[in-house]
C-alpha cells in the first residue's frame, strides 16, 4: 500500500506542480483582468496545499511515524500564516511572490523531512522566526525614508562581518563561511548580500560621476576579495555579478560593465593558476568521472542521482539521495530530481525563475532610483544564486557550493531569503503608493502603461 502511494504520488505531485508553474507564468501576462488573476492565485493556493499534502502523505505512508502528521500540520499553519500576511494584512503585496514563496518552502520541507527529520524540524523553527521577523519588513520599507542615507554604515557592517568570518570562521568543505554566534553557526555573507545591495543602491542612486563610481567599486572589491580570501567562491561571484549589474543599470555605461567583465575574467584566470582548490573545482567539472574517487565524488553522485531518477523520479524514499555529500544544502536540487523527477525539478526551477522575473518587474516599475536599484540588486542576488546552485549540481558550470533559496537546509540562507522577499514585498507596497499618486495625474491625460511586457520593454 505504501508503495502504491509513493508511485502514484510522484506523478500527482509532478502534475500539480506543473499546473502551478503554468499558472505562475500565466498570471505574469499583461492586461489580465483582475478577476482572472484572483482566480489564478486562488487556484495556486489550492495547488500549494495539495502538493504539500501529497508529499506528507507519502512521508507518513513510508515512515509510519506519527510525528510526521504533527509536523505536517505545523507546516500548514506556517504556510497559512504567510498567506494571511500577504493576502489580508499587506493587501497590496505581490500575491504571486507570496504564493511562490509558500510553494518553494513546502517542497523544501517535504524533501528535507524525507532526508532528515531532525534537520527539517530545525529548519522549521528558524522559518517560523524568519516569517515573524520578515512580517515587519514591508512596513519598515514603506515608512522609513532614511534607508538611502546609511550607505557607509551598510558597507562598514558588511565588511566587518565578512572579515570576522575570515578571521574567526570555521572551515567546512575547504571554505570559511560560518561563524559561531551564541553557539549557533551563522553565515554572515547571506545577510551581507542584502546590506551590500543597499550600500550600492545608496551610493549610486543620485550620483554616478567617476569618483563616486571609483569609491563604490573599491568598497565592492573589498567585499569580493574578503570572500575570495575565505575561499567562498560562490559568494564572491554573487557579489561581483550583483555589483556589475547594479553599476550598469545605475550608470547605463556599457564601458563599466565590459571593464568589469574583463577584469573579472582576468581575475578568474589568475585564480585558476594560483589556487589549487579552484583548479580542483574546474577539473571536477570538466571530467568528474575521471576523478570520481576524490574531487569528482560529489558531483558524480549528484549526476547519478539526477540521471537515475529520470524524468519521473524514483519516488520519495525510493532513491538514495543521502549518498550525495551535503545533499540537504548545496545539492537539494539533485535529491528532488532523483526522487520527484526531472520534470518536477524543472518546474521548480521555473518557479524560481518566475520569482526572479517578479523581482525585476518591480525594479522596472519603481520610479524611485534608490528602490529600483535595490530591487534590481536583490533580484540579481536571488536569480544568480539559483543559477549557480542548479547549474553547479547539474554540471552546467563548476560547482560553487551555494544553497537553493527557500528549498535548501540552512538557517542563515532561509532567514536572509525571507528578508529579501519581504523587502521586495515592501517595494510592491511602495509602488502601489507611487502608482496611486501618478494614477491620479495620468487618468486625466490617458492610459497608464501597465503590464509586465511593457515594463520589460522599458528596461530592455
Amino acid at each position: 500500500m505504501a508503495k502504491l502511494i509513493v508511485e502514484v504520488s510522484k506523478y500527482v505531485m509532478m502534475i500539480l506542480l506543473a499546473l502551478y508553474t503554468f499558472d505562475a507564468f500565466r498570471v505574469l501576462r499583461p492586461k489580465l483582468p483582475e478577476e482572472v488573476k484572483n482566480g489564478i492565485w486562488k487556484r495556486q493556493i489550492v495547488l500549494i496545499y495539495f502538493v504539500h499534502l501529497d508529499g506528507f502523505l507519502v512521508i507518513y505512508a513510508a515512515t509510519d511515524d506519527i510525528r510526521m502528521v504533527a509536523f505536517y500540520f505545523a507546516q500548514v499553519a506556517l504556510n497559512t500564516l504567510i498567506l494571511i500576511c500577504y493576502y489580508l494584512i499587506y493587501r497590496n503585496a505581490s500575491k504571486s511572490i507570496g504564493n511562490n514563496m509558500c510553494m518553494l518552502l513546502s517542497v523544501g520541507f517535504v524533501m528535507l523531512t524525507r532526508l532528515s527529520f531532525e534537520k527539517a524540524v530545525r529548519q522549521y523553527l528558524i522559518a517560523v522566526a524568519a516569517v515573524v521577523i520578515a512580517a515587519f519588513i514591508p512596513v519598515i520599507i514603506r515608512k522609513t525614508s532614511g534607508l538611502r542615507r546609511l550607505s557607509w554604515l551598510y558597507a562598514a557592517v558588511g565588511i566587518a562581518a565578512l572579515l570576522a568570518v575570515l578571521i574567526f570562521g570555521r572551515t567546512s568543505y575547504g571554505a570559511k563561511i560560518s561563524i559561531a554566534v551564541a553557539g549557533i553557526a551563522v553565515q554572515p555573507s547571506e545577510f551581507v548580500k542584502i546590506l551590500f545591495v543597499f550600500f550600492v543602491a545608496g551610493m549610486l542612486y543620485e550620483n554616478t560621476d567617476f569618483t563616486r563610481v571609483c569609491v563604490t567599486t573599491a568598497a565592492a572589491a573589498a567585499h569580493v576579495l574578503i570572500l575570495v580570501a575565505s575561499r567562498d567562491l560562490g559568494g564572491a561571484l554573487i557579489f561581483y555579478v550583483t555589483y556589475l549589474v547594479m553599476l550598469y543599470v545605475a550608470t547605463r555605461k556599457l564601458f563599466y560593465f565590459a571593464g568589469g567583465v574583463l577584469s573579472g575574467s582576468i581575475a578568474a584566470v589568475i585564480a585558476y593558476n594560483l589556487f589549487a582548490h579552484v583548479r580542483v573545482r574546474v577539473l571536477a567539472w570538466q571530467d568528474p568521472l575521471s576523478v570520481i574517487e576524490n574531487e569528482g565524488y560529489q558531483i558524480c553522485q549528484s549526476l547519478f542521482a539526477i540521471g537515475t531518477g529520470g524524468w519521473f523520479g524514483m519516488g520519495l524514499y525510493e532513491g538514495l539521495p543521502n549518498k550525495i555529500p551535503v545533499v540537504e544544502q548545496d545539492f537539494i536540487f539533485s535529491a528532488i530530481a532523483e526522487e520527484l523527477g526531472s520534470i518536477f525539478a524543472l518546474c521548480l526551477l521555473m518557479v524560481c525563475v518566475c520569482c526572479f522575473l517578479l523581482f525585476f518587474n518591480i525594479a522596472m516599475q519603481m520610479r524611485d532610483q534608490f528602490y529600483k536599484l535595490v530591487a534590481l540588486g536583490l533580484g540579481t542576488v536571488y536569480g544568480f544564486q539559483v543559477f549557480l546552485t542548479v547549474g553547479g549540481v547539474t554540471k552546467f558550470i563548476p560547482s560553487t557550493g551555494v544553497t537553493l533559496p527557500f528549498v535548501s537546509y540552512g538557517g542563515s540562507s532561509l532567514v536572509a531569503t525571507m528578508m529579501i522577499f519581504a523587502v521586495i514585498q515592501g517595494l510592491y507596497l511602495l509602488r502601489q503608493d507611487e502608482g496611486n499618486k501618478n494614477g491620479e495625474k495620468k487618468r486625466e491625460t490617458g492610459k497608464r502603461k501597465t503590464g509586465f511586457d511593457a515594463e520589460i520593454q522599458d528596461l530592455a
Partner: protein, 462 residues
Amino acid sequence: MVTYSFLALFLSLMGYFVYFQLYLSEDFINNSYNTRQELFEDEVIRGEIVASDGEVLARTSVDAEGNETREYPYENLFAHVVGYSTAGKTGIESTANFHLLRSSAISVENAANDLTGEKSIGDTVVTTLDCALQQTAYDALGGYDGAVVVMEPETGKILAMVSKPDFDPNELARDWEYLTSEDSESSVLVNRATQGLYPPGSTFKLFTMLEYMHENEDYEQYSFTCGGSYTFDNKTIHCHNNKKHGTMDLKQALAYSCNSAFAEMGTSLDVERFVELCEDLLFNTSLPTKLGAAKSSFVLGAGDPPEDVMATAIGQGKTLVSPYHMALVTSAICNRGVLMTPYVIDHTVNYKGNVVKSFEPKEYGALMTESDAEFLKDYMHAVTSYGTADELGGQSYAAYGKTGSAEFSAEKSAHAWFVGFAHRADMPDIAVAVVVENVGTGSEYAVPIAKKIFDAYYESNP
C-alpha cells in the same frame, strides 16, 4: 537587456538539463560507481543478451517462488565478452546494464507494474557478436592461452572476441574463490583481448615502415642486404634463426619480416615524429570502448640509446599493445584509414520485440591518410602472397596481414601474432587480431587461426 541576459542564462541551463537527461545521463547511470543501478533490480527482471542472429547468450530465469537465476547457455564460449553479473559486473553485462534494467514496454503497462509491484521485463540487448565466428575462433585457439578479436572494419562491429583461459559464468559463484585466489594461474577472469598487453613483435614493423615511408620519399628505391644480423653502435639485432635474407626492397623486408632491415631503418628515424605517428595510431590513448580496454604504451624518447630504438623498431622494446588495439588499427587500414567507432551492442528491443534504441555505425576518425592505408595494404598483401603468411595466399578471398613472434623471456617461447584482414567483393571485409601465448612463431601458430576464421566467414556465403 539585463533581464534578457538572465533569461538567456536560465534557458540555456534548462536546455542543458534536458540535454543531460536525454543524452548524457546514460553514461552516468551506467557508471559502475553508481550504486543506484541496483535499485532497478527490484523492479525489473534483467533483460536478455543475444547474438546478432538472436541466439540467447544470457538470460534470467525465474522459478515458481520468484527466485531469479542468470543463465549463460553457451557456458565458456562468450565468458569474457558477455561477462557476468553475479559477482560484480563485467563485459556486456556491465556496459549494457542500463539497457538490461530498463523496461521499455508500453509505459501504461510499466506504470501498472509499478503500482501492483509486479516486476517488468527488462529490454533485450542484441549484440553484434556472430555465434559461428565466435565458435570458430574459440575452437581455433584450442587449448592455448591468448586472444582473438574479429571486427567488421566498414562498420566497427565487433563480430567475435575470445580470451583464454576462460571460465563458465554459470559456475562463477562456485568457482569464485578458486578463480580469484592467488595460486590460480594466469588470471582467468581477465579479458586478454582488451586488457592483455603484449609486446607487438614484428606486427609493429607496419608502423616502423609507415614512419620510414613518411620520412623517405624514395622508399621504393629502398634496398638492404641482410646477412642475418645488424650491428649498430656495438649492439646487434638478429634475424629469426639468424636467417640471411639477402638483398631486399622494402616490400620484401616486410614480407620476410627481416629484423636486420627494420633495425637499420629504426636508427634512421626521427624519434619525435615516430612517437607522434604512434600516438595518432592510438598508442598511449584511451581506446574507444566501454569494455574496459588497457592503454597501449609506446615510450621511445629522443635521447634513448640506439639499442632501444632498434628493439622498438622491430616491436620488442618496451612497447605494449592489446589485441583489441591491433584489431582497431588493422580495421582502419582496411577501411581507407578511417576507424569506425567499435561497438558490440547493435540495438535493444523491448520484450515485445519492438526496437527501443539502435546504435548506428559512427566514424571515430582517420588514424592515417587514405594513401598511407593504401600503401600498407599493398605491402600487407605481399606478406600473404609470398611472405611469412603465405598460407593465406590463393584463397577465394584476398588476404592482407602481418605476422609477429614476440619474444619476452629467454626461457619461454614467443607469443605468436597475426593481424590482418580479408576481402571478397560479395561480403563485408573482416579484420582479425590473433595472439597465442608462449608457442612460437606467428606463421606457425597465429596464421592458421586467422585462416580458419576467414574460411569460416567466407564459406558461410559460398
